[in-house]
Amino acid sequence: MATFEPVLTKGFGTLDLTDLAVYRKTGGFDALTKAMRDMTPEAIVNEVSASNLRGRGGAGFPTGKKWSFLPKDGRPRYLVCNSDEAEPGTFKDRMLLENSPFNLIEGLIISAYAINAKQIFIYIRGEFLHGYRTFRKALAESYDAGFVGQNILGSGYSVDIVAHRGAGAYICGEETAQLNSIEGKRGEPRLKPPFPANAGLYGMPTVVNNVETLMYVPHIITRGAPWFAAIGTEKSPGPKVISVSGHVVRPGNYEIPLGITVRELIFDWAGGLNPGRSIKAVQPGGGSSAAIFEEDLDCGVDFESLAAKKTMLGSGAVVVMDDTACMVRSAVTLNRFYEHESCGQCTPCREGGQWVHRMVARLEAGEGSDQDLRILSTINRTITGTNLCALGDSIMPFLQSVMTRFPEEFKAHVTQSACPLRVRKESAA
């Protein structure tokens, strides 16, 4: 922990990186200068591929590989930056956008140059009004400084950035829903294939990358792929910003080398638990991830280690629940979320999400039955894997994991017609 120096979040809290002069003093836009003057687009793609940078938005797909999928058929290409952060528990992109917009702009231009994009769109979540304004101001200054627009730094390459505000919809974080939303449509995911690389925005070849992913690109260009690959684990290289929330003493964003353990993250970085409390459940990868438990705390915070525990790193959102948390209540909030956010296109997600939420809410209210428990334990096979996008697959993982681990707590909600934790608390008081 002591030897690791943060990359994206370096200077946060001490430097005002929304000030162009301050950003430049930290070496800002040196990578852009290097890329535009000394590197070909192919060299940039190769460098990013060699770093094995994996997408920081949730799926962890290798960025260089994504870039190399674009067909070479002369059609205009687009780069879309996904800043529609809304996965429950995730708050890293908002912090990055609000605190370091120039790093993002630098990453956008280098990446657009690497894939020869005609235009860049950044889709900023509608709720992030402050982040949108911060970005727009930084963008105007970047145009004035010649980092964006016509003939960037004399390279002959020209590209514009359009900042597009979302209007409230979690599903627009799904890449094809996001493309539809930019096109002025309902944010409904598309059937894949065709993938955005072939038929994306306006039907043209398109790359969609997450904010944090693009922000690492300038650092890889300046410091080289071997530097990046040496951080983290072999298959999950680099640093990553992890959002830690829930029942910890110091919730916040922590930029860590991937591969530290969940225990280290919670106790060494996020200040541990409140006095006298113990860990009940941890969601390691946002609202869509299955929970892990006390016996799993030595698992690494990286793509492979968490996949081996049948859960995921996802967007890097760690939500900690201590022994005071009711698992049924926790599940209700998440199942209500997925019910609310389903776009409604696919029946299993739309109907399944509603039924599951209603059944869990019934249990929580003390009105559930054994039949509800039975249905909840088998409904997974008709919901998961039966929808166009991953939202439907996100309905069951948390619920299933905590029902399996704490069956007696779910059962007690039926037999006592109330939450056993609340009953215990009230009788103690």
């Binding site: 952060e85 809304a86 996965e87 429950p88 528990g89 995730t90 708050f91 992109d93 908002r94 235009q119 979540r125 509608g126 709720e127 992030f128 009004l129 402050h130 949108y132 304004r133 727009r136 359009v162 597009h164 505000r165 979302g166 209007a167 409230g168 919809a169 979690y170 939303s181 930019i182 096109e183 002025g184 449509k185 309902r186 944010g187 306006y202 959002s243 830690v244 929330s245 829930g246 029942h247 919730p251 916040g252 964003n253 969601q283 609202g287 959102a317 939500v319 629940m321 948390a325 209540r329 926790s330 909030t333 998440l334 209500r336 979320f337 609310h340 956010e341 776009c343």
Partner: protein, 165 residues
């Protein structure tokens, strides 16, 4: 369509390869002007991007930050998802509803406050959180909420509760 809307519509269309992309930003602009997406705004948007009003309705209704009904001068959106729930959002919601005397997606009779329970606002480290006219308020307690409420009541600002830009 008012000249102001026509001008804004043209500016937005110029940003994109396809005029239809201007639809949602245009509705946001209209909402900023009128306080919600009015029937007139739906008609204007349909004319601007050459869709039917029904198609515009279908799109506008998809997005939670586009309001088809008038909202109050102050839009209070409280996060209700897991991380905020773990740190007291349920109790905060109950307190606010009692203070305002309205429920989810309702507006007080004096037209001052609209209350909504919303999904994860991406401020889980400062839970429970809310947005007031799309600006964050962090680590909210019933007591800090009461103090804010007094301040909002005393405000004479005419700024839109739902800014477009």
């Amino acid at each position: 369509m008012t000249p102001q809307r026509e001008k804004r519509g043209a500016e937005l269309i110029a940003r994109y390869p396809d005029p239809r992309s201007a639809l949602i930003p245009f509705l946001q602009f209209c909402q900023q002007e009128d306080g919600s997406v009015t029937d007139q705004a739906v008609a204007d948007a349909a004319e601007l991007v050459r869709l039917t009003p029904a198609e515009v309705e279908s799109i506008a209704s998809f997005y939670s930050l586009l309001f088809r009904h008038p909202v109050g001068k102050h839009v209070i959106q409280v996060c209700r998802t897991l991380a905020c729930m773990l740190r007291g959002s349920d109790e905060l919601q109950a307190h606010i509803k009692k203070r305002l005397g309205v429920g989810h997606l309702e507006t007080t009779a004096d037209g001052m406050f609209t209350y909504e329970e919303v999904e994860c606002l991406a401020a889980c480290d400062k839970a429970p959180c809310l947005q007031h006219n799309l600006e964050y308020v962090y680590d909210v307690t019933p007591a800090t909420f009461d103090a804010l409420l007094e301040r909002w009541r005393a405000q004479s600002s005419t700024a839109s509760p739902l800014p477009a830009e």
